[in-house]
Chain length 385, copies 2
């Protein structure tokens, strides 16, 4: 046993470490490796610029939080955010980009409300907790047809083998399932348009845009901080329903008012703009996707080769954003968490509904952080393996 | 004519100044006096702490925007925000405090949706543009009875002489009208509960809490930055309607989930918490109300005594938050704006729908800023009067 390994087994020493190694507010001189599932890691440059703008935006003598949303300064922020999103996704004028609030949970009902009549049928593919919540809300407003579900295996795979009835107004998918660590890799071959919750993998890879009528995403994973929701909608799918909706619940309102029907969430939008800028500076989606693939491969390779750990998702359906895994011996769970904490790793515990571990490796997470986690896993295997 | 006054009339000199005196991004070494109507001025200490937290929250090595909304750190922020609001307003357990998104514009329909059935009647007092919008949204969901309106005089007064029919489920008021510079000073004597949009004067003065069933306010005037909406609801008015609502549109959902049904707007809530902390440190509502009264008196006294200017609101109904006024000679408008800009004053133009001038003098605006504005007004009177 090396002198280092004694740390893990000498209770007295563990106690000593536990005083400084629990919670976020510890080992404050160490770089943090942020694996939170959302709100999640932001690029360093984004945090630096956001911090400056909170105090004094662009040498105006005012915080960006203190200026009118109708000032030239903020209108430019809105315009740039939209422009960057259009550039990143290569959107044409058939699509509108909206910056809203309320998160995916609001889109769960707004999509059905705006895109289907009461007697219409919407096709849903049920791939996890968030799909199920989307289905629950749609059922209040329209008919729902569950086209396929992976609930039979605790959502550890993505079902692809299903038919889409002609009666469906459209098909709703959840592209990435944060809790279960699965990700949709193939899109259905259909003439129906897709509506997709991309909260946890938007801007992480190329997508066949022409298939999508509407994409929505809470920003707090790959697109900024919490408090802003991105909606990308193909305009020709709107205006076909009979319901009378509150003004603010109509997509058309936000298209007409350029996301300023009411006061937008100024600071979250600004930070999202910075995040989009960062994506473009990194080289856009292709570069980001390549970085993401390498990070995911690094971590999955370790899970597959390390005798202590096992992945929970079907290999073909593994997410490049949320890597879910278990430790074979549950008695080692706390030790692993403690070792992670000592290495500056935070947010590695699995979702409260499933347990185990989850490493969220979104766009802004650096390879260095994945390497650090893999280092902790390797070291554990050597010491207790 | 003094040498200084030449600045105002020598076109060559004006041109020279106009190069450095237009827009926010000018005279960058001068303290700014921020009269924007919202998003609006924040206390200096709030900006400083917000800026620090955007970079590194509490020495965690992480931005507050990067931590899970279910972490102990953020749950403490949510709890403190609620606790501070309860302390400031002296709320008892009959009331819930919710931190939502979507602004007052969302509350316009959510109130009716949650508090009235389709065939119920809701009484509205129409005191301006925001009342009218609230009425428009309620009409989609229930019956609306306009109890009184000041539209006949372009909303320059608050109507108090009206009856509340027994048939009304409740009465909706807008306590302060940002665009028209009026403020409700007396509350109706009724056994119906009041629902009130207090977006622009919440936390500015004492209110008879027992009269209110629900109070809502976008935070971006007196309670923080844009992106968070405060709802204070007396629990016993809920649970009485027959509609089936999307989960996130029910107040009860947010009560049950302590404002974390979905990912809350982390940064805006944090800044609101800091703003509440600042109110308490200043001595709470009584102290704040006294400061506000002095600021308002300073400015209204100048408007009433300065021959160049005239107030637009009925004197008894003047707002202590938004002071609306005109310059008698329209030819002097641009000159006044230029002089304001040179003094570091921003956000003084009236709402785009009414023109003239509007000085928003919310809680966080310092007496010094009002004094600066009054100084510019006095100087103009001396020079052109």
């Amino acid at each position: 046993m090396s002198s280092n390994s004694k740390i893990f087994f000498n209770n007295k020493k563990r106690e000593k470490y536990s005083n400084i190694a629990i919670g976020l507010n510890t080992l404050i001189f160490m770089k943090k490796h942020n694996f939170f599932a959302g709100p999640a890691v932001l690029p360093e440059i984004v945090k630096t610029k956001a911090s400056q703008a909170a105090l004094d935006y662009n040498n105006t003598g005012l915080s960006i939080m203190e200026i009118s949303h109708r000032s030239n300064e903020f209108v430019a922020v809105l315009d740039n955010t939209e422009k960057y999103i259009r550039t990143i996704l290569n959107l044409d004028d058939n699509y509108s980009v909206l910056l809203l609030t309320g998160g995916a949970s609001t889109q769960f009902f707004m999509t059905a409300m705006n895109l289907a009549n009461k007697n219409d049928s919407i096709g849903y593919v049920d791939t996890g907790a968030w799909s199920s919540k989307a289905i629950k809300e749609a059922k209040i407003l329209s008919n729902v047809e569950i086209l396929a579900s992976s609930k039979d295996k605790n959502y550890n795979y993505i079902p692809y083998d299903y038919n889409i009835p002609e009666s469906c107004a459209y098909v709703h998918l959840t592209s990435n399932n944060t809790i279960f660590g699965t990700q949709t890799k193939k899109w259905p071959d259909t003439d129906k348009f897709l509506v997709c919750d991309m909260s946890s993998d938007i801007f992480s890879r190329q997508i066949p845009l022409e298939k999508f009528g509407l994409i929505y995403a809470g920003a707090q994973k790959n697109a900024g901080p919490s408090g802003v929701t991105i909606v990308i909608v193909r305009k020709n799918i709107l205006g076909k329903i009979e319901r009378t909706l509150p003004t603010i619940l109509k997509y058309q309102t936000h298209i007409d008012k350029k996301s300023s029907f009411n006061t937008p969430p100024v600071f979250p939008i600004y930070v999202s703009m910075l995040t989009m800028e960062w994506i473009l500076e990194k080289g856009g989606i292709d570069e980001i996707a390549e970085r993401n693939a390498i990070k995911a491969k690094t971590l999955y390779d370790e899970i597959d080769s390390n005798p202590l750990f096992v992945g929970t998702a079907n290999k073909d359906d593994r997410s490049t954003m949320n890597v879910t895994f278990l430790i074979n011996d549950p008695n080692l769970e706390q030790l692993f968490l403690d070792n992670c904490t000592k290495a500056g790793i935070v947010g590695i515990a699995g979702h409260r509904s499933v347990g185990g571990f989850r490493a969220s490796i979104y766009n802004a997470l650096e390879q260095e952080s994945v390497d650090t986690l893999v280092g902790v896993m390797k070291e554990m295997a050597v010491k207790v393996g």
